[in-house]
């Protein structure tokens, strides 16, 4: 029996009981729709989560802390920091750079200092960074350029810093304008000082007899783009300049009393943080482990991503399970329909056998009918899922804009592989569901089948 005849016969048989075929297919449609939508929610939520983690910083950059030192934001495991005190110095930087898979390394040497113009000032984290490594550290510019090797007192400014400027005369750094102040940082003449009392008229004389520090004339060369919260609130300066200024600050502090010495990093060749950029995201875990083994504390967004992935996997499994149950019910529906169909057609099966249909022909016919129900239901179910997915996203975006949590355009995502797999899977389920009835049909005795009415 050739395939075209087989297909024609199967379709014809399905069309004989339109209502029953339709209802069975409807079951598959609901099952497919449920499983696709559930999985699409899981996938969409994972993608949204990944996106929001990416916005916290770069996934392929590892932050290294000297052990027991500045525990960064995630220093919950204090126990590890008791014994060895590894120095984060230039030697360490070198050894990180020589690890396989590492693309660039830079120390982060930071102080909380003040930058000001004639009218406005900002208290911000100033970060000394290796200008040659900066190119590779996933900085995105909205204006200007990144630091270069020849730069001296040049700054690259985080996207949010501009909004933190306040009017010097208001003398209140919390009163800054919602929309930031109206200055063009790239054009403005900027000054940088470690003297935090600058501009605070009363405090200056009261605290000490220290003379005001000489500010540095600095020059903004670039503004960073929004969307990376780790970089947004910092100002970047070439590392060597940073070291010089820190040394100057230390000399200045010695002139006055010790009251002003806030920073415990005495040696400018010892860093609180070192950033390690890994070329391939898949190597992050391995590089991080190597650095940990050297005795340093590390942290990367990869950690968070991995642990969130694990918790998302549970959510996805639950969602998928709900879908799977409805698909299972649909499969039982197919089996039921095929069993019924064989009861009705017992006599016909007998006739076909007597006039020369092989067992293979009979089996293929019933398997194909079941698979067609699966395929048809799967295909229509897929269409319904796309519609449902669109609807969910539409409602979600509306709700999100009500609640002011914009940003993600969709929480239901149907990737092409899910679409393909769903249809293949329902056809397979049709085949499996039809297998028992098909075998049953081949086992019927031709004579007995002919005797049934």
């Amino acid at each position: 029996m050739n395939s075209i005849d087989l297909l024609q016969m199967a379709v014809k048989n399905l069309m004989r009981r339109k209502m029953r075929t339709f209802l069975t297919i409807l079951g598959v449609i609901i099952g497919t729709g449920a499983i696709i939508l559930m999985l699409s929610l899981g996938i969409g939520m994972t993608a949204a989560m990944k996106q929001s983690i990416m916005e916290m910083g770069s996934i392929n950059i590892i932050t290294v802390y000297s052990s027991g030192g500045y525990g960064g934001y995630y220093s919950e495991d204090m126990s590890t920091s008791t014994t060895s005190d590894m120095q984060l110095d230039d030697m360490a930087v070198q050894s990180f750079a020589s690890l396989p898979g590492v693309e660039a390394v830079t120390p982060y040497l930071s102080r909380y200092w003040k930058i000001y113009t004639k009218k406005y000032a900002v208290d911000a984290e100033i970060v000394g960074i290796d200008p040659t490594a900066m190119q590779k550290m996933n900085f995105e510019l909205s204006d200007g350029r990144l630091l270069e090797a020849t730069d001296k007192l040049d700054l690259v400014i985080g996207s949010e810093v501009k909004n933190m400027f306040y009017d010097i005369r208001s003398n209140n750094m919390h009163s800054h304008d919602e929309n930031g102040v109206d200055i063009d940082l790239l054009q403005e003449k900027l000054k940088l000082t470690y003297d935090m009392s600058y501009g605070q008229r009363n405090s200056n004389s009261a605290d000490s007899d220290q003379k005001p520090a000489e500010p540095y004339k600095v020059n903004a060369v670039g503004i960073l783009q929004e969307g990376n919260w780790e970089q947004a609130y910092s100002v970047y300066i070439p590392l060597e300049q940073m070291q010089e200024i820190i040394e100057a600050e230390q000399r200045w502090q010695k002139q006055g009393n010790d009251y002003g010495s806030r920073n415990n990093g005495n040696n400018t060749n010892e860093y609180e943080q070192v950033k390690v950029k890994v070329a391939d995201i898949n190597d992050v875990e391995q590089v991080q482990q190597s650095i940990n083994d050297m005795g340093y504390q590390t942290q990367s967004l990869n950690d968070i991503l991995e642990s969130s992935k694990k918790s998302m996997a549970v959510t996805q499994a639950i969602l998928g399970g709900i879908g799977a149950v409805s698909l299972l019910i649909a499969a039982i529906g197919i089996t039921n329909t095929m069993v019924m169909s064989i009861y009705e057609r017992t006599r016909e099966i007998g006739i076909m056998k007597v006039i020369g249909a092989s067992l293979r022909d009979i089996r293929r016919l019933f398997l194909l009918e079941a698979a067609l129900i699966g395929l048809g239901g799967g295909a229509i179910g897929l269409g319904v899922s796309y519609l449902g997915s669109w609807l969910i996203n539409y409602i979600f975006v509306q709700q999100a804009s009500h609640m002011g949590t914009e940003g993600f355009s969709q929480i239901s995502l149907i990737p092409w592989w899910l679409a393909l797999m769903a249809v293949a899977f329902t056809s397979l389920i049709g085949l499996i569901a039809g297998y028992l009835p098909a075998v049953r049909a081949t086992k019927l005795s031709a004579l007995e089948a002919l005797r049934t009415v």
Partner: protein, 233 residues
């Protein structure tokens, strides 16, 4: 001497719980090529059982059935299906047409299972339907035809793959006497013109008159064999 069909010591016992029903007791017979054999006997004498055993639709409890050089009794179901497709045509009392297929499709159904392309098989089927006098009923479904017409369709179907043997179990059992002689003329004429062997079950002496060999069955035994009007034993 080798016969076309040969049955040796064929026994068929049905078990109904603890009860044993001996449908065929001890059958020995042979049929030659081109012969028209009629199995005659009262109801329950074992005619249908014998026919089904000879056609490979039912396995004997004991004994051997040889058709050509093949031993039917030891064939697997798949082998039997292939054997039937090539060698055997069936006509039943209750026609056994597919209710959803029209006359043309019903007649060409055996050829579908042989994998013949649609144009070729429907041409053959149309030719045969014309031969049985249904040239104007090609697209009719079984329930749109009379009993006689349906039986003609089933006769056309039995002959479509040009089988060596035609088995017919009371093909005229549901027909009136005029239609009976029409159908009998048709079957015997077609079988004879193609040199096919015809084995037919009936309890109607009028039908038996067409045959050149008549075997009387009684309680699962061959009571007597009449060849060309003469008793033979």
């Amino acid at each position: 001497m080798d016969h076309f069909i040969e049955l040796n010591d064929v026994k068929k016992i049905y078990r109904m719980g603890r009860e044993k029903i001996i449908a065929l007791n001890n059958i020995n017979l042979h049929v030659d090529r081109g012969q028209f054999l009629c199995l005659l006997g009262t109801s329950g004498s074992g005619k249908s059982t014998l026919l089904n055993v000879m056609a490979g639709l039912e396995k004997p409890t004991r004994g051997t059935i040889k058709v050509r050089q093949f031993h039917i009794e030891s064939m697997s179901e798949d082998q039997l299906a292939r054997f039937r497709k090539k060698n055997i045509g069936f006509v039943f009392q209750s026609y056994n047409l597919m209710p959803t297929l029209n006359a043309l499709e019903n007649v060409s159904l055996p050829l579908i299972f042989s994998g013949m392309p649609v144009k070729k098989r429907e041409k053959l089927a149309a030719k045969l339907l014309k031969a049985v006098g249904l040239g104007d009923r090609l697209r009719h479904k079984p329930q749109e035809m009379s009993g006689g017409q349906q039986q003609r369709v089933s006769i056309a179907r039995a002959f479509i793959n040009d089988p060596r043997i035609i088995f017919a179990d009371e093909p005229t059992g549901n027909l009136d006497s005029r239609t009976t002689s029409e159908v009998m003329d048709l079957i015997t004429g077609m079988a004879r013109s193609r040199g096919q062997t015809l084995i037919l079950v009936s309890h109607d002496p009028e039908v038996a008159a067409y045959a050149n060999t008549v075997i009387h069955l009684k309680d699962g035994n061959v009571e007597n064999t009449i060849i060309n009007g003469e008793e033979n034993q």
